[in-house]
């Protein structure tokens, strides 16, 4: 099985939608009128961590960026990954809850960071260490 790294977006990342005619829709690309609200303090969210991981990890490691509202995909992913690692009952529930948090870093169901992403270099080191264990 190829490994999968999951990055959960922050709580204020643009995007996500519900309702017809909703979502992050841009009628035009070149117009300057559709601007997202700037992120706090110029924070780029998950992008720097993603770019660092993509540069460091081999191509066969999948890296997904997921909206925290996409529970329909995240929950099964975390449950499957947790069960593969032998988690059951309360331990599995805790793992799933931690993985569902905004700005989480997950490797094959193992939650390496929850609620706040580490710096890009630290994230790369943590993921590489996790993958080396397999």
């Amino acid at each position: 099985m190829t490994s999968r790294v999951v990055l959960v977006r922050g709580p204020r990342a643009a995007g996500g939608g519900g309702g017809c005619c909703s979502g992050d829709v841009r009628p035009f690309d070149e117009g300057g009128s559709h601007c997202h609200a700037p992120r706090d303090g110029g924070d780029e969210g998950v992008a720097p961590v993603y770019r660092a991981l993509r540069a460091a990890l081999p191509d066969d490691v999948a890296i997904e960026i997921v909206s925290p509202s996409n529970w329909l995909w995240l929950v099964p992913e975390l449950v499957r990954g947790g069960r593969r690692r032998g988690l059951r009952g309360p331990a599995l529930r805790r793992s799933v809850r931690a993985g569902m948090a905004v700005e989480s870093l997950i490797v094959d169901g193992a939650v390496l960071a929850s609620g706040r992403l580490p710096a890009p270099a630290a994230a790369v080191a943590a993921v590489e260490a996790e993958l080396a264990l397999r």
Binding site: P11, R12, A13, A14, G15, G16, G17, G18, G19, C20, C21, S22, G23, D24, V25, R26, P27, F28, D29, E30, G31, G32, S33, H34, H36, A37, E44, G45, V46, A47, P48, V49, Y50, R51, R54, A62, E64, I65, V66, S67, P68, S69, N70, W71, L72, W73, L74, V75, R97, M100, A101, V102, E103, S114, G115, R116
Partner: protein
């Protein structure tokens, strides 16, 4: 006819459509290439452009396109009988929406994930971009107007829904703040939010809020209009604040509600074994609009919706990992929307009435059918919820809350989008007061649909809601027509057969212009001097679109290559392209068959 049998048959047809027709589209029409370097890879920035697992992307795409619109149209359209309504939903989903949503995604991916408005300018010509801007302007105006009326009507009919809906706003903001402060999961707070929202239904049921007194004090004949004004005042504010303050956390709640509603409909139909009480084809009273052409603009979302091209080409195309994923994400998104529309038909034909006489009393004429349609859907879903042991009065408010939540989110986003379009128009006209001033742009974006929603019309009860809804339908189908034109031109330039896009394109344009002409004559005869010019303007846009599409297609046929451009990733030009990576990232002009097909 048992409702669950109909649902099962529709499900099988949708499966066959996905299995075979989308496969044909993928291979022969869009010639998807698994080796093609998608914009998500080419411009990967970890932000907007991110290669994303197709299941993750489907979740984003489906929740972005599913909502209130595929509920309202079918609930009106069963006036002509459930047969025509369901036939259009099934055929439209398989042969029009699937082609359109999937195609917009495929074409956008082949053009650096540019949005459909930009593609109209580049693939057809510069005039088409202005045409798109005009169509979108009217579409958003009518979207905002009709949903304000829908919500206003529902508040008047279900005063118990007012408290939960109003308190959903601070509830959503609180969820957003909580997630931000605690950095916790969005799942648990949003589930708690849904539970609190549904608990508020009990409060709303105990303390219904009516604005009849306020309407009387203000001298407003229809209480609905007071709600409409309040709603637009709210959206003026809501569309100005960042998406993560209100819109995004409310979407968390809505995403749960979408699946809860679908689950309630499915379970209720199975448990209750409700039978469809509406006739297959309804013998409508003389003078009613005929289902040719009006059915095809009454059901827009749910059969084919131009708005989906904005989502497909706006964000989804930036996240497509492999080009071949477009089939699953785009086509299945259309199927999901068709499933929701099917649920609406079942609610308005099987859930809402216990006998054919009861149903006929709800749909005696088009004006009654259209003004009561959403209420009928609410009553139908309430009956399905009642089948699974939810008390009927609570179930009714639950169904109303679901519809209003979706409609309110659509209004939030609709006004926000309209502001962008107003600013685009300001830039085009070089009026900086509009293009650079958010307050002015938002005020314009709010006042125009507000005026539309308040216009007086036919009969003592004000204008027929169905008329306004049909105008929305025509602009939505014109948007789809423009997207299908872009798709057809692009497919032709690739030397492939564009018939799969041309048939729905011609069908939509014929039905739309036909309906516009009939309505125009009627508006003039009835001295409807607000609706008549609006209809005439939309008709001009339709004719303009027909001319542009025809010219572009003729030109594309002249330019098409003798041999279809290979889409397998194995042809000789694939090798050439892979051997010339500079070509794969160059900013080449669009339009040539061999110029935009970079691998």
């Amino acid at each position: 006819m048992p409702a669950f049998v109909v649902a099962a048959v529709v499900g099988v047809l949708f499966f066959l459509g996905y299995r075979y027709y989308s496969s044909y589209l993928a291979r022969k029409v869009y010639a998807l290439d698994p080796a093609f370097v998608t914009p998500a890879h080419e411009f990967n920035d970890g932000n907007d452009f991110v290669p994303t697992n197709k299941h993750v992307l489907f979740g984003h795409h489906f929740t972005s396109v599913a909502g209130a619109a595929p509920i309202v149209g079918p609930a009106i359209a069963v006036f002509w009988g459930w047969g025509p309504a369901l036939t259009w939903i099934v055929l439209g989903t398989i042969f029009a929406a699937g082609v359109h949503d999937f195609g917009a995604l495929a074409v956008s991916v082949r053009h650096k994930a540019k949005s459909i408005g930009t593609l109209a300018g580049e693939v057809i010509n510069g005039r088409a971009r202005k045409l798109f801007l005009a169509i979108i302007f009217f579409l958003l105006t009518l979207v905002n107007a009709v949903f304000a009326v829908v919500i206003g009507n529902l508040f008047v009919a279900n005063p118990g829904a007012v408290i939960p809906i109003v308190l959903e706003i601070p509830l959503a903001i609180a969820i957003g703040v909580y997630i931000y402060r605690t950095r916790s999961s969005a799942l648990i707070p949003s589930i708690v939010g849904v539970i609190v929202l549904y608990a508020l239904i009990l409060v709303g049921n105990a303390y219904p809020i009516s604005l009849d007194g306020l309407a009387d004090a203000l001298g407003v004949e229809q209480t609905r209009n007071v709600w409409v004004v309040l709603l637009f005042a709210y959206t003026w504010i809501a569309s100005r604040i960042p998406v993560w303050v209100l819109l995004q956390p409310r979407d968390y709640i809505n995403s749960h509600q979408l699946f809860i509603a679908l689950g309630v409909i499915a379970l209720g139909v199975i448990v209750g074994m409700n039978t469809i009480q509406a006739p297959v084809i309804n013998d409508v009273p003389e003078g009613s609009p005929s289902f040719f052409p009006f059915l095809f603009i009454t059901i827009a979302c749910g059969a084919v919706s131009g708005f989906h091209s904005l989502v497909s080409s706006g964000t989804t195309s930036k996240q497509l990992d492999k080009e071949t994923d477009a089939r699953y994400v785009g086509y299945m998104g259309a199927v999901g929307e068709g499933s929701l529309a099917t649920g609406a038909v079942l609610a308005a034909t099987a859930g809402v009435a216990a006998s054919q006489a009861d149903w006929q009393a709800l749909y005696p004429d088009f004006a009654t059918a259209s003004s009561g349609a959403v209420g009928n859907f609410v009553a139908g879903v309430a009956q399905f919820a009642n089948n699974i042991a939810v008390p009927l009065d609570i179930a009714t408010i639950f169904a109303a809350v679901v519809v209003i939540s979706f409609a309110a989110t659509t209004m939030d986003t609709g006004v926000r989008l309209q502001r962008y379009v107003v600013q685009e128009i300001g830039e085009l006209l070089n009026v900086r007061a509009i293009s650079r001033n958010l307050t002015v742009a938002t005020t314009i974006a709010v006042l125009i649909p507000l005026g539309m929603a308040l216009i007086p019309g036919e009969g003592e009860a004000g204008y027929t809601f169905g008329v306004l809804w049909q105008l929305f339908g025509t602009t939505n189908q014109l948007t789809a027509g423009l997207a299908l034109s872009v798709i057809a031109v692009w497919v032709t330039r690739q030397g492939r057969n564009p018939i799969a896009a041309i048939i729905p394109l011609v069908f939509l344009l014929v039905m739309t212009t036909w309906a516009l002409i009939i309505n125009l004559v009627r508006f003039v005869e009835n001295d409807q001097w607000v609706l008549a010019p609006l209809d005439a303007l939309i008709f001009v846009l339709a004719v303009w679109l027909i001319v542009e599409a025809a010219l572009a297609l003729v030109q594309a046929r002249r330019e098409r290559p003798a041999v279809p451009v290979d889409g397998t990733g194995t042809g000789p030009e694939s090798v050439v392209a892979r051997a010339n990576p500079d070509e794969a990232t160059s900013d080449v002009p669009l339009g040539g068959a061999d110029r935009d097909d970079r691998r």
